[in-house]
Symmetry: C2
Subunit: 348 residues, 2 copies
């Protein structure tokens, strides 16, 4: 590792930690401290209190600054993004029946479906409130653009989530890598990278920036992120990673590894994979999951996904140059660029 790379990584991590702290404070300040505490507001505070990676708000803040804006122009927007992200996480955990989030029990594990679902709804309402209050300070046309970005982002995310759930429920198996990329474009990239980039640029430039190249950069950056996330679910250290390892395998989630495997198995292995796919979550035993993981190793599916992620990351660097060609280099653009290697190298 060269000196520059070390510096890059240190910069990335320092920014993420700093923004994480700032945004966490912003989120908790925006959550009422009233009643019912035990059944609602304690739950609403739970995920925002747990340190997350803070990729989304960091990307939004840095992009706004890169395009000439200040932290004050955009901080509440970044807070709203992170709050919506947390609301999505609560509902995802309900949908998937997940047990672990950021190293601690999920809300659904602690409080059941109904209370967790309701807390997620409240967090989404509060995110909107933060956004609206801030948009009063923007001129009307700019505020409209910010709102439109949020609406698009929320719908793309929910569309992606629906497709992923639908694939699992209806046991859709004729899937190729392109289908996976189209899925994560909706489910992950829009709200993780594209939206923070676009909304940061639109606020920073007071509406002047060309947002189209942000879609290509955000797509590649977000895809690198999601592919790494899927790989970590198989090979990560649960204590660092903070979610249940193999959770995706139990859920039958159509990851790049699973799609690769489905396309490569023959004979008896094909029957094993088909039986695994047909079994619902409840029907997937520890042995079955271990067997699928073993087949993924044998058929090089995990290696394939990691390589694919590295390729996407290269494309992201290209797209970065295009998206930020109109602004001067700064520690902000350096940070944004440094997220590319961070996405594929991270352990949590």
């Amino acid at each position: 590792m060269t000196a520059t790379e070390v510096t890059g990584q240190e910069l990335t991590e320092r920014v993420l930690v700093e923004v994480g702290r700032l945004v966490r404070r912003g989120m908790l300040d925006a959550i009422p401290d009233g009643e019912p505490h035990t059944w609602l507001y304690r739950l609403v505070r739970a995920y925002p209190s747990r340190p997350g990676k803070a990729i989304r708000p960091s990307l939004c803040l840095a992009t706004c600054r890169a395009f000439g804006g200040t932290d004050d122009d955009v901080l509440p927007v970044a807070v709203a993004i992170e709050m919506l992200h947390n609301a999505f996480l609560i509902h995802d955990d309900v949908a998937d029946g997940s047990r672990l989030r950021r190293g601690r029990p999920t809300l659904v594990a602690e409080h059941g479906d109904a209370l967790a679902l309701n807390a997620g709804d409240a967090l989404a309402v509060l995110a909107n409130q933060v956004l609206r209050r801030h948009c009063r300070s923007l001129d009307d046309r700019l505020a409209d653009r910010v709102y439109a970005e949020f609406d698009t982002m929320a719908l793309r995310t929910l569309e992606g989530q629906a497709t992923e759930l639908g694939w699992r429920r209806d046991n859709v198996v004729d899937l190729a890598a392109e289908d996976y990329l189209d899925l994560i474009m909706h489910k992950t990239c829009w709200y993780t990278t594209i939206h923070p980039l676009r909304v940061g640029a639109v606020v920073g430039s007071r509406g002047g920036a060309d947002l189209r190249p942000m879609v290509r950069f955000g797509f590649h950056l977000g895809a690198a992120f999601q592919i790494r996330d899927d790989v970590l679910n198989l090979v990560g250290d649960e204590a660092v990673y903070g979610k249940e390892r193999d959770g995706d395998l139990y859920e039958g989630k159509r990851t790049l590894m699973l799609i690769h495997l489905m396309g490569h198995v023959r004979g008896r292995d094909r029957t094993t994979v088909a039986a695994y796919l047909e079994a619902g979550r409840e029907g997937r035993s520890e042995e079955m999951v271990a067997e699928i993981r073993h087949l993924m190793e044998v058929h090089g599916s995990i290696r394939f996904a990691s390589d694919y992620g590295a390729g996407i990351a290269s494309a992201a660097l290209d797209a970065f140059d295009d998206a930020f060609s109109s602004v001067p280099p700064s520690s902000d653009t350096e940070f944004i660029r440094s997220l590319v290697p961070y996405m594929i190298g991270r352990d949590l």
Copy 2:
């Protein structure tokens, strides 16, 4: 029944049907027709396509007109209210595991928890979009007040929902009628009556109306509605009512009838009620539910609740006079007043 009462009831039903049709069209126009259709947008359209009572949008429109506004001033607000209501219904059905809604299978029954939850999220996003687009046409100060009304409404509703779920989950039993009224003030009245009244008045009067008396009227009107709803769940005709009869009993919902019963049983009956309360939804057999319903009849709990509802309705008429004293009588004020007897007389 006198001639005036017949006219009143006819007026009420005619307005509800007309507004229902108008608002249904508005909701469906606001829902994208794109992909994924099978897993998202078909689900999002389901409840808005089924004719509901349309109490909330009708109240909002009539109040706006009573305070000097036009349909154009407020129709999208009424559409947004009804869309949020439908989003709440989807999530309520997930939380309660309900099987029947407006006479047809619930989304959760047809598509499972995860897809239904996700569709409810999308409907809430679209409701916000409708609201925001309309608020552009209002002056900024008025738009801010409308948004603030929506935020308050959504949070009060989620607080109430959390409390009700919490009571059931933690088997809270030391409850009196006042606790029930406080619960439904949050869970039902705010979004069913208080909010449509307040937001209608604020838009109709361009911010000039005194909204405080709307809380008292809305509370009594909404409480009359909810008490009737709870009674209908026990005595209603399922084909007309459109939900599973006795659903509340299976869920252990703390209705006025159940609270009355808990306060009146002694000896062996007390043990029966305690066993019913301690059993979770899964543990409540048909026999157990039949026994509780029988005890409610024996102890006059259903009669008690109906009488209580009638008393609340009387108070609502008083509060109506106060809330609408500043505006001239019209077919709109007549319609609003007619909702009081409608709430306690309705069969669906």
